[in-house]
């Protein structure tokens, strides 16, 4: 049986791999064998098609509706679509993982939780599609020339996208409605295969849509007039496509975890008995775990994306980090600080589930201090906007202490410490109710302490010596060994813990449901902060194109071509967030009423007789 199952799962992976390569066969003009060939060679094969240059528009070429700001409408609809898209893409990823855990441990709680997660995402799936359709309508209505230009280049992949959407929908519905049918033995493997296909098609959909967005940022196979001379793959495989793909995939998982966490928190607060409280507490913990696990590598993915922007266009990179958008990263630091603080706070509250955690309480305050200080360093601005009088009294635009803390080496050091100490919180939480019984436990702990100590010293040296006493090249380069140090500490610590706590003695049980209500608000803070943060970064990702629809080749000449200031952008993001949260509450409510049944005694004929 086991051998047969192995064959099935191997088959499933083959099907997923096939699905990944399904795209080229669906997209006209793409030959998968050429996918990684020299783009110039690919482009030369496509000389049969002639594309028009990017149109040169005037304000009159943009249709308007009185009283409607087209940019704000498109902005909000696109953002709502992206939020829901991120959610429905992420949930199947961790549902699949949780289902695998449930199957391998034969613990049905995991299976039930996975089902509850996917149940929430079903309604959100419809809303994602509706918002996607609305976005297309808005683009055609308000930006017809831009849409036409992009559709001409991406017609093949847009068609493939539509077909793939059908595939994803079909798989999702079978996956969801067949959940209880496809249980046990071979059927469970079939269900897992469907989960894999669902994720493969979902990711492909996102990658395709990412290509349209990143083409607008870093167009490929075009000349200075915007004449496209490649094929669909050349357009898809533009410079920033993969960095965005990586960043969005990780961010979506973290985001999906935070939204499901908010759902669990809401249900926990509304629970009517101990069992429900225990169930939703456990669900919230798992959702928070997913969010944090994906949140930890996210700064590195963001750093990679930004570095790639610099490589693509130094101007774009500098506009992003040192130009008008620089202050965004101070807001971003506040938001990410809120994410880390709320995630840690939730873990600390969760330690109250077991008496065994009391031994770790004294350390929490030190972790809190490090996290708060790291957060403060991260959000220290480099350049201060000052009046002349302030400049004179300060002796220049940079404060003697804050100035050095405002540059990237200090921020990189702070972020790495923030991540490491959040991981430490998590380690304490995981150990709360257990005591390691292996004979080498003391040595294992000593190795971990040594690892953390030397790692932190290394991060400090890299951040200070290379950050302040060498030239710019080393300043930037030092961030990579800093990241590697953090990753090595986490990886080795996880490995040591895995062996050290295998068969560990439980000293005090984890009492699910025994957490204060305020801990659940940490989960709401996580979800709201994440949503707002995604909105903010969406603004800057789009905004760095400035007055270009497609960077440097297709100019935006609409009345809204100006780059909005931060306050204005924040207001739009907040309105969109409120709309999104209202829709999410609607989704949560729908998932609740689906299990409610009203007694209708005497209403139906059969009951009356």
């Amino acid at each position: 049986m086991q051998k047969r199952n192995s064959r099935i799962i191997i088959g499933a992976f083959f099907i997923a791999a096939f699905a990944l390569f399904l795209l080229p066969s669906l997209v006209p003009g793409i030959d998968a064998s050429l996918a990684f060939a020299d783009e110039a060679a690919v482009a030369s094969d496509a000389d049969a098609i002639t594309y028009a240059p990017a149109p040169k528009l005037t304000a009159a070429d943009y249709p308007t509706i009185p009283g409607v700001n087209s940019r704000v409408v498109v902005w909000i609809v696109a953002q709502l679509h992206l939020w829901f898209g991120a959610f429905v893409l992420a949930v199947p990823i961790f549902v699949f993982i949780i289902e695998v855990i449930g199957m391998s441990t034969r613990d049905q709680r995991y299976d039930n939780m996975a089902y509850e997660f996917i149940k929430i995402s079903i309604t959100a799936f419809s809303l994602t599609a509706i918002l996607g359709g609305l976005l297309v309508f808005c683009l055609i209505l308000f930006y017809p020339d831009l849409f036409n230009y992009l559709a001409t280049i991406f017609k093949g992949s847009m068609f493939a996208y539509a077909l793939l959407f059908f595939v994803e929908s079909a798989v999702l519905y079978v996956y969801y409605y067949g959940w209880h049918w496809l249980q046990g033995g071979f059927k469970k493997w079939v269900h897992l295969t469907l989960g894999l296909l669902l994720n493969a098609s979902g990711l492909l959909l996102m990658f395709l849509a990412n290509a349209w967005t990143t083409f607008m940022m870093s167009p490929s196979a075009v000349d200075a007039a915007g004449v496209f001379s490649g094929d669909t793959w050349a357009a898809i495989h533009n410079f920033l496509w993969n960095p965005i793909n990586i960043h969005r995939t990780i961010a979506n998982v973290a985001y999906g975890g935070s939204i499901v966490g908010a759902y669990a928190a809401f249900k926990f607060l509304s629970a009517r008995n101990k069992e429900q409280r225990a169930h939703y507490d456990w669900m919230g913990y798992n959702a928070n775990f997913i969010a944090i696990a994906a949140l930890l590598p996210l700064p590195f993915a963001g750093y990679y994306l930004t570095a790639e922007m610099y490589v693509y266009s130094q101007q774009m990179g500098i506009t992003l980090m040192g130009g008008v958008f620089a202050w965004i990263f101070i807001i971003q630091a506040v938001l990410i600080g809120a994410l880390f603080l709320s995630a840690n706070y939730y873990l600390w509250c969760g330690m109250g589930r077991s008496e065994g955690a009391h031994r770790y309480y004294p350390y929490i305050k030190y972790i809190a201090i490090v996290i708060v200080v790291s957060f403060l360093v991260w959000f220290t601005p480099h350049t201060l906007v000052l009046t002349n009088a302030e400049l004179k009294s300060l002796g220049g635009p940079y404060h003697a202490v804050l100035g050095p803390l405002g540059i990237m080496p200090a921020k990189n050091t702070a972020v790495n410490l923030l991540i490491l100490f959040t991981f430490l919180s998590f380690m304490f939480y995981r150990r709360a109710n257990k005591i390691a019984t292996v004979p080498w436990a003391a040595k294992g702990n000593a190795i971990q302490i040594a690892l953390f100590t030397t790692g932190i010293i290394n991060i400090f040296i890299l951040g200070t010596y290379y950050g302040y006493y060498t030239n710019t090249v080393y300043k930037v380069a030092a961030s990579i060994p800093q990241v590697l140090t953090t990753l090595v500490i986490i990886a080795i610590s996880v490995a040591i813990d895995a062996f050290m706590y295998k068969g560990a003695k439980e000293v005090a049980p984890l009492r699910w449901g025994r957490v204060p209500a305020r801990s659940q608000y940490a989960l709401f803070l996580l979800a709201v902060s994440f949503t707002w943060l995604m909105g903010l970064m969406g603004y800057v990702r789009s905004g760095i194109r400035q007055h270009w629809h497609v960077t440097n080749i297709f100019r935006d000449n609409s009345p809204d071509a100006f780059t909005p200031g931060l306050g204005y952008a924040a207001n739009v993001i907040s309105i969109a967030t409120i709309i999104f949260m209202a829709m999410v509450m609607f989704v949560f409510w729908l998932s609740t009423i689906s299990s409610h049944k009203s007694k209708t005694a005497g209403y139906w004929k059969e009951q009356g007789t």
Binding site: Q314, G323, N571
Partner: protein, 271 residues
């Protein structure tokens, strides 16, 4: 319902806090409006005005200072003439220029013809420059504008300006930052410029009594026109005793060549 309200209020307060911080907790920097088309009146330009145009383009539309600054993302260009002569004789030079003017032009439109060691694209082993062709794409300098920047670079290098002002480019138009003149009506007088930029907040000038910068009421008797122009374009180039560096903004981006000369003339007349 009670919990629903609590959660809704908590979420709204969180969103409100982020909004308030973004609006009131950080400086509200309004990004520059998109560039607008502006005709260059090359025919009526003096060489000083042409150099001033180059200065304005260098610091504005050309976006040169994004990288060519003290952070050294790209080499400093304050002595680009000497650099050009050195680079042209370097075995790694792949261009075709035979003199400084041609070299500078080539470096603008074919930046990879010579890449200064350590400034190439990552992984290119200094064979490829990260600098874009300034005549295309998002920068889009016209030939006349490139010539103006070359003139400016030659001027700040302390060398002879060999560029001549193009006169046969009637169709030449360029994008100028609107704050540099394109998006507003041109200033009618030096007094209007002084009022607009509130020079009197720091300087004693035009009836104002600012004390944070030098007294300008008799500046024309103390400084020549070149000095005054430089002080407006690069205020930190020479700082008068008792005044601090970094206090005065450069006005090269905000005044067009005619306006700059108008202001210089006005100040030269203050005796």
């Amino acid at each position: 319902m009670n919990n629903f309200l609590k959660v809704a209020i908590f979420s709204l307060l969180t969103i409100g806090a982020f909004t308030a911080y973004s609006n009131f907790g950080i400086p509200q920097i309004v990004p520059a409006p998109p560039p607008v088309e502006e005709e260059l009146d090359l025919g009526g330009m003096t060489m000083d005005q042409f150099i001033a145009l180059g200065d304005k383009l260098y610091h504005g539309k050309g976006t040169c200072t994004l990288c060519h600054n003290e952070l050294l993302r790209a080499p400093l260009l304050d002595d680009s003439v000497a650099m050009a002569l050195k680079h042209m004789s370097d075995p790694n030079y792949k261009g075709e220029a035979t003199n400084v003017e041609e070299y500078l032009h080539e470096s603008f439109v074919k930046p990879s013809a010579y890449v200064v060691a350590g400034f190439g694209k990552a992984g290119s082993n200094d064979t490829e420059s990260p600098m874009p062709d300034v005549s295309g794409g998002g920068i889009g300098l016209s030939e006349a504008e490139i010539a103006a920047v070359i003139a400016y670079l030659q001027d700040i290098s302390g060398s002879e300006v060999t560029v001549s002002i193009p006169t046969d480019v009637p169709e030449e138009t360029g994008d100028e930052e609107s704050e540099g003149g394109g998006g507003r009506a041109p200033f009618e007088s030096a007094e209007a410029i002084i009022a607009e930029f509130t020079c009197g907040a720091c300087h004693k000038i035009a009836g104002e009594e600012g004390e944070m910068g030098p007294d300008l009421t008799q500046i024309g008797a103390l400084r020549d026109r070149d000095h005054l122009r430089r002080a407006l374009l690069d205020p930190n180039a020479e700082i008068t005793d008792d005044f601090m560096e970094g206090m005065m903004p450069a006005y090269g981006d905000q005044l067009n060549a005619n306006e700059l000369e108008m202001l210089v003339n006005y100040m030269a007349g203050l005796k």
